[in-house]
Amino acid sequence: MKIEVLGTGCPKCLKLEAMVKTAINKFGLDADITHIYDIDKILSYNVMMTPALVVDGVIKISGKLPSEAALEKLLQ
């Protein structure tokens, strides 16, 4: 599974990255996490609101922090 966290380095974006890592560890998932800071790259995903979460190339979340439960459901 390829997970990308898109964020400009804002507090919410960093928190999303931390939440994703926690969830991955919790379920022992095999995932490759990258955090993309570059604004041009972020835009190339057609994402306007950060933080955003992209799983295997599909935008799952944009512009808000999910609840822990919602994130876990998304990643499983």
Binding site: G7, T8, G9, C10, P11, K12, C13, I39, D40, I42, L43, N46, V47, M48, M49, T50, I59, I61, S62, G63
Partner: protein, 356 residues
């Protein structure tokens, strides 16, 4: 020694007095509903609904609509500074273009729903409404000026529009949403209205019951829950900072010589407005704190004209914002943005000062 103690006592008394003044029913009755309304906007209106209007600039009508939504979006969405940048870059490069993006850059953080009722209860309803209208016009004016100064060089074929994720199917009619948001807005208006406390409480109570009724009838438990969650987030994020700012503004007030404020900004002149607008750019106050600061200046003798200039410019821009924006647009454009913003802010405040 005694003098130092005297000054400190005076500062503390002033700080506590100011704090108590803000914690009265008068201010709370307008601010608390505003928090709930902002929370509801954030939780219950999908951002995609708003931003789809800023995604297209083909045709002048659509451009006008994009400007309108860019200039008023700040009222509906509370965006933190970290979200502003991708949105700005997105509207510029993929959406409606440079002008609307600039309008959004100013209006997004500069025009907030929360500050309007607070300004109304502290500086007067008329002042607050005029400030709101002026800042919307200012956002559009800055956007148009920037677009005319710098020809937009982005290739139109790269304007693909943008996706905001899937739009969730709505479970209620537009009419039902309007009922709910109207009732909620009326609580805020009733809380701000310049009427006696008894009548005010009665009106706030009535509209609260209506809001609760519409909320329970039309929205799911999850939606109501996320509304409360968003509201709580806003309160947690802004309220302590506001109280701290209020206290601090009361604290420093005895230290600022009244004669100085009155002599520099006591008249409505271009110079006085320039000074207060530049102060608004350089000084950085957290969201909402600019209002108690403005209140302090007014009590120290600042004329309403320069006061308006200060309040128009302060929330929209700070050096910090300019530095971050500078990473996306060239320094030349950043300088022009700061120039237009200051000029329009000074001018708008000056005109207000003449007619007030």
């Amino acid at each position: 020694m005694t003098m130092a103690i005297e000054i400190i006592t005076q500062m503390l008394t002033s700080g506590i007095d100011t704090l108590v003044e803000y914690l009265t029913a008068h201010v709370l009755l307008c601010l608390v509903p505003a928090f709930f309304l902002s929370g509801a906007f954030n939780a219950m209106i999908p951002t995609s609904t708003i931003f789809k209007y800023m995604g297209d600039s083909r045709g002048s009508v659509k451009k006008g609509i994009a400007y309108f939504f860019a200039a008023t979006s700040g009222l509906i969405i509370e965006v933190c500074s970290c979200t502003i940048l991708p949105l700005f870059a997105g509207i510029w490069r993929k959406g409606a273009g440079f002008g609307p993006a600039i309008a959004f850059l100013f209006a997004g953080p500069g025009i907030t729903l929360l500050s309007t009722p607070l300004t109304a209860s502290v500086l007067g309803t008329k002042f607050a409404m005029i400030k709101l209208v002026l800042s919307i016009f200012m956002a559009v004016a800055i956007g148009i000026a920037m677009e005319l100064t710098f020809k937009d060089t982005i290739d139109p074929s790269s304007r693909t529009g943008f996706s905001m994720g899937d739009e969730e199917p709505s479970e209620r009619t537009t009419f039902q949403s309007i009922l709910f948001f109207s009732a909620l807005t009326l609580i805020m208006i009733a809380g701000t209205a310049p009427v006696g406390l008894t009548l005010k409480l009665a009106m706030v109570g009535l509209f609260s019951i209506l809001t609760a009724y519409f909320g329970y009838s039309y929205y799911s438990k999850d939606e109501l829950g996320s509304w409360m969650g968003e509201t709580y987030e806003f309160v947690k994020m802004l309220f302590p900072v506001l109280l701290l700012g209020v206290f601090a503004s009361g604290l420093v007030k005895p230290l600022i010589p009244e004669a100085f404020i009155a002599s520099v900004t006591g008249q409505n002149t271009i110079l006085a407005n320039t000074i207060s607008a530049v102060f608004g750019t350089v000084a950085y106050f957290p969201t909402l704190v600019e209002v108690p600061v403005a209140n302090m200046f007014m009590e120290l003798g600042m004329h309403p004209g320069p006061l308006m200039s200060y309040l128009l410019v302060d929330p929209g821009v700070s050096l910090q914002t300019l530095l971050v924006v500078n990473t996306i647009i060239k320094p030349r454009k950043t300088a022009a943005y700061a120039f237009y913003m200051l000029s329009f802010g000074i001018l708008a405040g000056y005109l207000y000062g003449i007619f007030v």
